[in-house]
């Protein structure tokens, strides 16, 4: 009887504790990613303005001004409309994308001089966005399925104590072997990302500054700084005019709204 009870207790303890004890670094990494996504879910739709400052090694600057509108999709990647205001020779150019976690994104580009809408290949993930140090894949929406994960350690960071998590892109066309992200344990905000190139050497570091909370829930950084360690160039992304739940819906994201985008 005693023996049976002891055995039962042992069994119960094993069953209860095993999942925690046996959680692999991979499972822990995935769990953190899911929590990041979960905590931000429900923003519905948003729009914002983005000022991009490109600096070369000599410190010379050039500027891009861009406005974006996004629509959250349940069970799929977001829809996005990007409108270019500067440089002036591309003013009026607009970009429509329906992103998908694993399949290729659907992307259309509107060229105002010809009034032409072009369906474009979304294969170019690793290429630079507007000549900046941000690649297209750095600016696309974060979807859990895009990476596999590995939790590395805890480490003090600007946001308090951070999880350090490695993210391995699933897409073979990614320009990275891995990204290392610092995510704070309190609010699950990303503070820093190191990007490792295809040869697995450190390529870029992205830092997030000036986090603000919108609708008492969604954290967005006012400033993102991308430093390229290999070519000495950097790009700053300054965000302004964040608005959430302004009432955008599917009818704001089609080829007609692309042509009319202002």
């Amino acid at each position: 009887m005693n023996l049976t009870k002891s055995f039962y207790m042992l069994m119960t303890m094993t069953f209860l504790s095993n999942p925690v004890l046996a959680q692999t670094p991979e499972e822990r990494g995935l769990e953190i990613a899911k929590e990041v996504k979960q905590r931000d879910f429900g923003w519905a739709d948003m729009q914002a303005e983005m000022l991009m400052v490109l600096r070369n090694k000599q410190g010379e600057e050039s500027v891009r001004e861009i406005r974006i509108k996004s629509l959250e999709q349940e069970g799929d990647g977001d829809k996005g409309l990007t409108i270019f205001d500067k440089p002036l020779d591309v003013k009026g150019t607009a970009f429509l994308s329906f992103s998908h976690p694993l399949e290729a994104d659907d992307q259309w580009l509107y060229l105002p001089a010809l009034k032409r809408v072009k369906r474009i290949s979304s294969r170019n993930k690793s290429g630079p966005f507007m000549g900046s140090e941000f690649a297209y894949e750095d600016l696309s929406s974060f979807e859990i399925e895009k990476y596999s994960y590995k939790y590395i350690k805890d480490e003090p960071c600007e946001g308090g104590t951070c999880f350090v998590v490695e993210q391995y892109p699933v897409d073979k066309d990614s320009g990275y072997t891995r990204r290392v992200a610092w995510i704070d344990q309190d609010q699950y905000r990303v503070w820093k990302v190191d990007f490792y190139d295809r040869k697995n050497s450190l390529l870029k570091t992205l830092s997030f500054k000036g986090y603000q909370q919108y609708l008492d829930r969604h954290w967005r950084a006012d400033l993102q700084q991308m430093q390229n360690h290999q070519n000495g160039k950097s790009t700053e992304l300054k965000w302004s005019g964040y608005q959430f739940q302004v009432g955008l819906d599917d009818s704001d994201f089609n080829k007609n709204t692309l042509k009319r985008a202002r």
């Binding site: 020779d89 170019n124 630079p128 080829k255």
Partner: protein, 400 residues
């Protein structure tokens, strides 16, 4: 005339006070471009005995948005002054239109430009606007077309209905212009099949939809053919070509499959006029190598084929022609780009080569260097006329 009246009406509408004018958004932009053309050869016709030409053009865009962007008015006047060709010294209202957007529909009224199609070397199915042929030889410059366009967005696609009141005549090079035939086109004495002349009201309907990786469009156009045929005439005792604009029915299809780095493109059209019925096609593939040899450079390679049922008898340049092209994009801060296109006429063994390079300088300038070479293989080919119009062109554009 009708166009002018319409323009005046819209302008006065704009100047009158708008209800709730507080939330009106106004924006003004423009482009000033100066062009220097060098011709290695004197042209083969009288009036073309020169080696260089200079030209400047100004295009400005005025934009008013109101009702939180649901209504907008755009006014885009254009003017060019050309040193050699008085026909190329011209102006146009590229756009003067009002757009009203509902939830799943838009009404667009006024002078506008519409582009249909997917291919790069020829724009076969693009029929709404008349070509401003004195601007360039690529047929991509268009004259503003008066229209009322209702666009409906449905689950099963976008349907566009067009009523096109008034016709724009094509522009043609004058006596002193290049890129023309030996006999000059007399644009003052155009003839029309329709008794209503350039006042005929044309109509068009188009359906377009994206199915996953496939984007397709189908349309029917009924009205004045934008491409004239020519009759010989006399003006002050000199032979001239008189453009004759017939009525036509045209069915068109355009489709693109976007498969990873591959683009497959097809344009088809069937045109019925009083003097001929025929089909034509432009088809091609494009493949892009992204980030070649660990750089940021993308290299696109494209091949297209142009076919016209009328064969050698066709009054177009591309009746049985192959095209090879390459687009090199550096993806640098100045958006540097190189384009090269080689055309080969299988019937006449004629060649044409187009090379374009462009880059941005500072925040406001863009410089382009273009070269065009035409090599006709037969005096039966229309290209014979422009064989001595090889050209190197430097364009400086200032954006404001």
């Amino acid at each position: 005339m009708r166009v002018k009246l319409f323009a005046m009406g819209l302008t006065s509408l704009l100047l009158s006070p708008v209800a709730g004018a507080d939330d009106t958004v106004f924006d003004f932009t423009g482009k000033l471009s100066s062009e220097f053309q060098a011709y290695p050869d004197e042209g083969q016709f009288v009036g073309q005995a020169y080696h260089s030409n200079a030209s400047i053009a100004l295009e400005t865009a005025f934009y008013w948005g109101f009702n939180e962007g649901d209504d907008s008015v755009i006014f885009t006047p254009f003017i060019r002054i050309d040193q050699q060709d008085e026909e190329r010294t011209h102006g146009d209202i590229r756009e003067l239109s009002w757009i009203h957007a509902g939830d799943d529909w838009e009404l667009r009224s006024g002078l506008r430009k519409v582009f249909w199609g997917v291919t790069e070397f020829n724009h076969l199915v693009d029929v709404i606007n008349q070509t401003d042929a004195v601007e360039d030889s690529d047929g991509e410059d268009k004259l503003g077309q008066p229209m009322v366009n209702l666009s409906l967005v449905r689950e099963w696609g976008i349907v566009d209905l067009y009523v096109l009141p008034g016709f724009r005549e094509r522009t043609f090079a004058g006596v002193d212009g290049r890129l023309r035939s030996g006999v000059v086109v007399d644009t003052d004495s155009a003839r029309y099949e329709s008794g209503e002349g350039d006042q005929h009201i044309d109509t068009a309907i188009r359906w377009s939809q994206s199915f996953d990786l496939y984007d397709i469009g189908l349309y029917w156009f009924k009205g004045t053919n934008r491409d004239p045929r020519f009759e010989l005439g006399l003006k002050n005792g000199t032979p001239v070509l008189i453009p004759v604009y017939e009525q036509m029915d045209q069915f068109g299809f355009d489709g693109q499959a976007t498969l990873d780095s591959w683009l497959l493109k097809l344009e088809l059209m069937r045109r019925d006029t009083r003097s001929e019925d025929y089909s034509a096609m432009q088809a091609g593939v494009e493949y892009t190598f992204y980030g070649v040899s660990e750089t940021n450079t993308d290299v696109g390679v494209l091949v297209e084929y142009g076919w016209d049922e009328r064969g050698k008898g066709a009054d177009v340049l591309f009746q049985n022609d192959l095209f090879f092209g390459s687009r090199i994009t550096l993806n640098d801060e100045s958006s540097s780009e190189f384009l090269a296109g080689l055309g080969y006429d299988i019937d006449y063994q004629s060649h044409s080569l187009v090379v374009e390079a462009s880059s941005r300088f500072g925040n406001n300038w863009k410089l382009s260097l273009d070269a065009r070479i035409f090599e006709s293989g037969s005096n039966q080919d229309l290209m014979t006329n422009i064989e001595q119009d090889d050209l190197v062109q430097l364009t400086a554009e200032y954006y404001f």
